[in-house]
């Protein structure tokens, strides 16, 4: 059992190592700057600029975060500070359930609901034409997928704050909202940041649902209604095909490495913050 445990721990390092080794050929030929910041992606000509994909990922993740953060923060505040106990007990399992839905279902739901919504209502409202398959659609779908993570962790952070601290503020004649704003949010800021970073890292790496609605066109999106091609979609769509093209394989694994490093980095940072908060409580 010790070996199995150690083995699964090591797996992370093995994967990182494997990706590095496989991505090595392209790193030897081209500078990291060229790979990350060139927007020319022509595998047949030997151009492997990943900027369109990186920008696609950033757009989608950014939109998801902009939508998800305020909504989940307000939900968490409402559920933990205002809602009657019954409401809280009733809605919490549903929110957690959202996290368990397979992402392909989010993808299908995105195609059926969100894509037409963007195409027929949101884009025309701004006087723009859009096929609906866009970074906006992907961002909306993604934001719903990361709600549960952010809400759940934020509520736990609120829960860790002693009741007496809220009472100290209330007893001074502060309203509930003043207490939330000046005391609760301030006290739990690191935890809220960590919760959102964890949501962010999930959004960054999410593949299936995004791939289904983002449009997948190799171009840097210029507006929210443009299609985008996020990194995970690039890998999932292309790995295993056309691998006879020189360096193609290494380029895809390079993009996987980029994704891996970013997600691991954010995960470690947010878990470290949450760990510190737990230490403070106990």
């Amino acid at each position: 059992m010790l070996l199995i445990t150690l083995g699964s721990g090591f797996l992370v390092f093995l994967m990182a190592l494997g990706l590095c080794v496989k991505a090595w050929p392209i790193l030897r030929l081209k500078s990291l700057g060229e790979i990350l910041f060139s927007s020319s992606w022509h595998p047949l000509k030997g151009d492997f600029g990943m900027l369109p994909f990186i920008m696609g990922t950033l757009w989608v993740t950014g939109i998801a975060i902009i939508i998800a953060v305020p909504i989940s923060l307000l939900t968490a505040i409402y559920l933990s500070e205002y809602a009657p106990k019954r409401m809280k007990e009733f809605s919490k399992p549903f929110i957690d359930l959202l996290a368990g839905i397979p992402s392909v279902i989010y993808g299908v739901w995105g195609i059926l609901i969100i894509v037409p919504l963007v195409k027929d209502h949101i884009a025309p409202f701004f006087g723009v034409y859009s096929s609906g398959y866009s970074v906006l659609s992907a961002g909306i779908v993604l934001s719903i997928m990361i709600f549960p993570v952010i809400i759940h962790i934020t509520m736990e952070v609120f829960h860790s704050i002693p009741r007496e601290l809220r009472e100290a503020s209330l007893a001074l004649g502060a309203t509930r909202w003043q207490t939330v704003k000046h005391v609760l949010l301030r006290k739990s800021l690191p935890g809220i940041v960590a919760a959102n970073v964890l949501g962010f890292s999930r959004a960054f790496g999410e593949t299936m649902a995004v791939l289904m609605v983002a449009g997948n066109i190799v171009k840097i999106p210029l507006s929210v209604f443009d299609a985008g091609y996020p990194l995970p979609a690039l890998i999932a769509n292309n790995y295993g095909e056309m691998l006879s093209i020189p360096l193609y394989d290494a380029a895809l694994l390079m993009s996987a490495l980029v994704l891996f490093v970013v997600v691991i980095f954010f995960n470690v940072v947010s878990r470290y913050i949450l760990h510190r908060i737990n230490l403070r409580i106990s």
């Binding site: 007496e164 601290l165 009472e167 100290a168 503020s169 007893a171 001074l172 004649g173 502060a174």
Partner: protein
Amino acid sequence: MDAKPHLQVKNLSVSYGTTAALKNISVDIPDKKITAIIGPSGCGKSTLLRAFNRLLEDGDEVSISGQVLVDNEDIYDPRNDITQIRKKMGLLSQKPYPLPMSIFENVAYGPRIHGIKKNRMDETVRHYLTIAGLWEEVKDRLHEPATRLSIGQQQRLCLARGLAVEPEIILADEPTSALDPKSSQKIEAEFKVLKNDYTIIIVTHILRQARRLADYVLFIYLGELIEHGPARQIFENPQHEMTKEYIQGIIS
């Protein structure tokens, strides 16, 4: 009773779910005196104290009946603004809970939410820190986080913070139980001075503290008010058998 009552409790009952925490309590709390609520732990002392500034109702499944009158106004009257009621009472809890901000901001917090002018804030903060006997110790580090103070200093900071909203009544819930003897002594000394201007209600399970401080005493046992009266009478000539036993240390 010679002094006029500041706070009157009439038929107050509180229950958590189906458990009764306070049973039909009626008592007058004298103005500008220290009133001690004594009794064994879990008997409802804190519940009674928290009923006075309506902190109880934040819990789930709490039912409250009866009246609590402050200056002849029922604080449970739904027409009353809860923040105004709470503003009338400063709360000092068992452990100090400084707000997550600087020493200065802790004291300024109350006045600020009640709209005191910015240019008077320095003076206000200084004034209340002085009253709480903390000014000399913190005047050079007002903008440090409050959590860097010692626990005794934090408790005095909480006192200053409570006084800064200009309450009439100070509610103290075993305010020295987390403190060392020296800090406790400071808080007790503060109370003796403050009672000239405020009505103080202190919950304590330390009988000696009640003897040192109290002018008036309420003895509560299992949610019932067994006996109340001037401190001297309760301690030297208790009328009720149970009070006698508690004071002699037979029950605790």
